[in-house]
């Protein structure tokens, strides 16, 4: 039976999913901000970890609340954590390309961190689309990446379970994008349509079934806010990403070029940790697992978790297992 106070509790819930842990902006370029998190434990490594998040959602999912924060888990393990916030592109960013994101913005963040620490190389944790960017950057600048971690990252975009890839196969993406940006709302509809019954109906029915206690409602609302707080996508970068990766699968076929240079995954010779969600409906496990046989590194660890795409960031199990897996893997490298 629905708690009679639920409706009022939902209406009164705050919308404050801006991230939990203390952080400071240390560099910026255009709308991009590079944040450094305040340590909460004794440092265990002199090499900082840069988290590269996707463009399609906001990065605060990595630090949603105190007890659901991958970043907090990494900080508690003594890691020095940086995070890229790409910002919200607007009409002035419509011609921003993947080369801009990878070889300018991401490269700029890496340079800044290396300068601050007086190092030649750092560790990178790439998440989802950010994992793809991290693979590209690391292949183009292998000497600057000491250890590479990819999380729910698609590599082969043509696996049988990849519904998004099937859908966009015959779409004229250039016509879709036009000369503009791609609306975050349209992408939300696209993602919802992958599992419309669960994501637009059952989820809310589950909400109705539970208690109206404030903590539960606030938790729900934070995730809800994150899901629909979707930046528009810079048109040129979106066109390139969908065409080159989803339609043409260039990364796997070794045909991808960024800034006129070939992105050869064989150039990845540093240790690599690949984290996969077995129940991921956005990035099928097979799309990610293929990385191991494409890279030049002899030190590749693949860890699978019995979790979905979002569960990899915020589930209770992820809090217990993912940060410790990352910290433990880094500690011996």
């Amino acid at each position: 039976m629905t708690d009679p106070n639920l409706y009022a509790a939902l209406a009164a819930a705050s919308h404050s999913a801006a991230g939990y842990s203390q952080k400071q902006a240390v560099w910026q370029s255009g709308k991009l901000r590079l944040y450094r998190y305040q340590p909460i434990a004794r440092p265990t490594s002199a090499v900082p970890l840069l988290i590269v998040y996707a463009l399609v959602n906001r990065p605060y999912m990595m630090d949603l609340q105190e007890d659901r924060s991958l970043i907090r888990g990494l900080l508690a393990a003594g890691l020095d954590v940086y995070l890229i916030d790409w910002g919200y592109p607007d009409g002035a960013d419509r011609f921003t390309t993947l080369a801009d994101y990878i070889d300018d913005f991401l490269a700029g963040c890496v340079e800044e961190i290396l300068r601050l620490h007086g190092l030649d190389a750092l560790n990178i944790l790439g998440v989802c689309q950010g994992g793809v960017f991290s693979l590209c950057y690391s292949a183009l600048h292998p000497q600057k990446v000491r250890n590479l971690i990819t999380m729910v990252t698609p590599v082969d975009f043509h696996t049988p379970a990849d519904l998004l890839s099937k859908w966009v196969k015959k779409i004229d993406v250039a016509a879709w994008v036009g000369d503009g940006n791609v609306s975050g709302d349209a992408l939300n509809q696209l993602f919802l349509s992958l599992m419309p019954f669960r994501l637009t109906q059952q989820k809310y029915m589950e909400l109705m079934r539970g208690r109206a206690d404030r903590e539960r409602i606030e938790n729900f609302m934070r995730v809800e806010q994150w899901i629909f707080d979707s930046p528009d996508q810079a048109g040129a970068a979106f066109l390139e990403f969908v065409t080159w990766f989803y339609q043409e699968n260039r990364l796997v076929e070794n045909r991808l070029e960024i800034s006129g240079r070939r992105v050869d995954l064989k150039e990845l010779r540093q240790p690599i940790l690949n984290l996969i969600g077995r129940k991921d409906h956005l990035v099928p496990p097979a799309a990610s697992a293929v990385l191991q046989r494409l890279v030049g590194s002899g030190d590749v660890t693949t860890l699978e978790f019995d979790l979905g795409h979002i569960g990899m960031y915020i589930s209770a199990r992820a809090q217990r297992e993912v940060p410790s897996a990352i910290a433990g893997w880094l500690a011996v490298r």
Binding site: T2, F95, W167, W176, Q189, F197, T200, M205
Partner: protein
């Protein structure tokens, strides 16, 4: 049927809400009142299904299952919106013709052709939408059949909220499985691509028409702004290149300066 899926889930949700409970005060129904009628229909359908299957006669049970499946198909027929905002079931009626048959002659031929291209793109959008609607309806039919095949009705005396929840969850599982089969099919992928491609062309033609009007009124157009933005980008790129060329030179100069012995 804008935001129809929202209405649909609230329709179902309302049956658990106090506003939908018999005898609830009207004031408590705030927020849920518009969906109370539909919620009652769902509850009635579920009860009818449970009673029908409990009667023991195979024809009555089969009819109850079929009725419940039909109800769910109807209930969810417009439950989902495409990227771009229209429900699968929204494509109805004849598309606008906009002088489709007129020969494009004389000084207005370019304007007429733009209008005709926009109308043709609109027609193709609606056609693709109708195909998507059929596929959605087929998926719902398959879902209802799968649901009926799996049904284990609760005891009639125990139509509790938990039993209704279980029925609902079972329906969702069947619906997602059926939808996934449809969504992965070539027919769906082609219809979706046709829909997006035709919508894109429709938007492009409309932009072109609007730009024509903007020029007449001497207003800036998106094309002009884009041209300026591209020029600015290339100037910025040249500036960056010049800076990065100067950096190594400056570093060499600094290094030479450092090596110089002090007088």
């Amino acid at each position: 049927m804008e935001h129809d899926f929202w209405r649909q889930w609230q329709t179902l949700a309302a049956q658990w809400a106090p506003a939908a409970a018999p005898g609830a005060a009207r004031g408590e129904a705030v927020g849920f009142a518009p969906w109370a009628d539909a919620a009652e229909r769902f509850t009635a359908a579920a009860r009818s299904f449970v009673q029908g299957t409990a009667q023991g006669s195979p024809p009555a049970a089969a009819e109850a299952v079929r009725d419940f499946g039909d109800f769910l198909r109807e209930q969810f027929a417009d439950a989902f919106q495409l990227p771009g905002g229209q429900a699968f079931g929204a494509a109805r009626g004849a598309p606008p013709t906009f002088g489709m048959d007129l020969p494009a002659l004389g000084p207005t031929r370019e304007h007429l052709q733009r209008g005709q291209r926009a109308a043709e793109a609109w027609r193709r959008t609606e056609d693709a939408q109708r195909r998507l609607q059929r596929l959605w309806s087929d998926a719902l039919r398959d879902a209802a059949q799968g649901f009926a095949a799996r049904l284990t009705p609760p005891q009639p005396g125990a139509v509790s909220p938990e039993a209704l929840h279980a029925l609902y969850d079972q329906w969702i599982d069947c619906a997602e499985e059926a939808y996934a089969r449809t969504a992965h099919s070539d027919a769906f992928c082609t219809a979706l691509a046709d829909f997006v491609n035709a919508s894109s062309q429709s938007r492009r033609e409309l932009q072109s028409i609007v730009e024509q009007w903007a020029k007449l009124l001497d207003l800036p157009t998106r094309s002009e702004i884009n041209t300026l933005a591209q020029r600015l980008r290339s100037v910025e790129a040249e500036l960056r290149a010049a800076r990065s060329e100067r950096k190594p030179q400056a570093a060499v100069k600094a290094s030479r300066t450092r090596r110089k012995p002090k007088p």
